[in-house]
Amino acid sequence: MLDFYAVDSLLGPEQRAIRATVREFVDAEIVPNVRGWWDRHEFPGAIKERYGALGLFGANLPEEYGCAGVDDIAYGLINYELERGDSGLRSFASVQGALVMYPIYAYGSEEQRRRYLPELAAGRLIGCFGLTESEGGSDPGAMRTRARRDGDGWVLNGAKMWITNSPIADLAVVWAKDDEGIVRGFVVPTDTPGFGAPTIESKMSLRASCTGEIVLQDCRVGPEALLPRSGGLKSPLGCLTQARYGIAWGALGALEAVYTCARDYAATRTTFGKPIAGRQLVQDKLVRMLTDHSLGLLMAHQLGTLKGAGRMTFAQVSMAKRNNVRVALNGARAAREILGGNGITTEYPVIRHMLNLETVDTYEGTHDIHTLIVGREITGLGALE
């Protein structure tokens, strides 16, 4: 791992072993193939079994539900290594773990946990998370999707937009307002009549990930679909806190990939008789990237320590997500520049990461929204609403 500040020395043996195993997997099975998937705009479906066998889905949830039960820092390292491969293939695992398994674990009944978690952990079931709607993802409280009481069950109507995995999912965690206007979560099997999930084509980002809509037309579900302990916007936001935590680590993996590529390239590319790595302007870019990586990694590690101790605040998560993704994106742009013309072809990983990170900068709370969350926290004055 790129580790200028010896963060490795803060890790325990299991954390190191987990990182090593995921790193090997990524190097062997993702790095050599991802370019082709990305170029073809193709999600590699077979990877779900590989993730399942390794235990990458919901790895931080308890063993009694078929999960690996790793700690928060190990969970962060998994995200780091996966995103070093590709943000889309990290997103695939993040959605399943933090946005599908976590709400079932946190807000579900014991029966729902036992029924779904082991299957999701093994990759035999794939889930998606439907919160965003087409009008203003930054303002999920304005959602229009409704869950109407109908006998002992519910009827769902509405549409979700930008939903990772929806076209390939077996079940969806859908957020909708009930008759009282309270946001509730539902676990909806995707073969339920009235459920549709058209694919969003022509993405120029996260091309190895599958994104779609969710269309709910009089979609009737039984009482067992409701996540009984969900209630209010804080429930989906609680999931986002989990996912953002993983992204704060993941983005640094992408930064490692673009930094290493740029450094190696600069060392061999010669102009005017000298490797470009020997030029001040290039060194400046490389040093910025590495400094950002080091700071981000220390922040992520401390965030993990706080999370493990139950002391992490949402503003801290916002700050880490906001910072680490943006520095990765800036680093990718700088790396792209260092590679010159070669920087624009997918023969090198740089432009792929750069374009992927545009999404990562936007989803799970845009960069600016996180600015406003932290800003509100430190000034006590809300600029968001």
Binding site: P13, E14, A17, I18, T21, E24, F25, A53, L54, G55, L56, A59, E63, A68, G69, V70, A74, I78
Partner: protein, 261 residues
């Protein structure tokens, strides 16, 4: 069955640059990351597959090395071995192949076994001596370079790679098999395995535990002494050219000069 696997920790073959300390005439190990020998992983994979087919076997990994060789054992446990044994003693540093084999055989004798797996050779030393030596010390047969195997009614049937193909060989248990390097694809330790490995037992053995004394193993017992190190005469690189459609023609031209064409 009680299955034992000899595993070794080696400098990471993907990153190591072999440097020799001119003073000690040993490999420089500082700053080198160590890993479970990829060859040992393949042997372990073969052992785990045998245990899984059989359903009632246990797999114990045995390593000799410095204390941190426990990391290699933990990795083997994370891959699925049930427990481990680490032979570690300051007096063991600098052991030669026979010293290593004596320590391994002594521990294996105490643990007990039906079948022992080894890699055909280690990635760093590649002498390939240890399997035969361990078997000899234990008074059991050994089969080297095995690429596939089955155990039925206490008899192992396996395919042994030879230059022109393979031989089918048979031998009753107990015995030792050395597994050919590319024959099995070692699994990644799954996350659950890594977490479970934390709770698995690793027994430590010292020379005294094994009734060995430093003349048997370790530097004191080693019979190979390095006298001096010489630089290798390197081959000179010749002409390296970019293929601009004329690469084949240039090769053909050289072949003509050499009288091959």
């Amino acid at each position: 069955m009680r299955i034992l696997v000899c595993v070794k920790q080696v400098p990471d073959p993907n990153t190591v640059v072999y440097q020799i300390d001119p003073g000690t005439k040993r490999l420089v190990r500082d700053g080198v990351t160590n890993v479970l020998d990829p060859g040992a992983e393949v042997a372990l994979e073969a052992a785990l597959q045998l245990a899984e087919r059989d359903g009632e076997s246990t797999v114990t990994v045995v390593a000799m090395g410095p204390e941190d060789a426990e990391d290699a054992i933990r990795r083997a446990l994370a891959m699925g071995a049930h427990d481990g044994a680490l032979i570690t003693d300051d007096a063991l540093a600098g052991s030669d192949a026979l010293g290593t084999a004596k320590a391994l055989a002594a521990a294996i004798g105490q643990i007990g076994f039906d079948i022992i797996f080894c890699a055909t050779e280690s990635t760093d030393g590649y002498s390939g001596m240890v399997p035969g030596m361990v078997a000899e010390l234990l008074g059991i047969p050994h089969l080297s370079f095995i690429r596939s195997l089955e155990v039925r009614d206490g008899v192992l049937t396996g395919q042994r790679v030879i230059a022109l193909g393979y031989q089918t060989v048979q031998c009753p248990l107990p015995l030792l098999v050395a597994i050919a390097s590319g024959s099995h694809e070692a699994r990644y330790p799954a996350l659950k395995g890594i977490m479970a490995a934390k709770r698995k037992k690793v027994e430590e053995y010292t020379l005294a535990d094994l009734d060995l004394d430093p003349d048997d193993a370790g530097e004191a017992g080693a019979r190979e002494r390095v006298l001096e190190l010489l630089p290798v005469e390197e081959r000179q690189a010749g002409v390296i050219v970019e293929d601009n459609g004329d690469g084949a023609a240039r090769i053909a031209e050289l072949l003509r000069q050499r009288g091959v064409l």
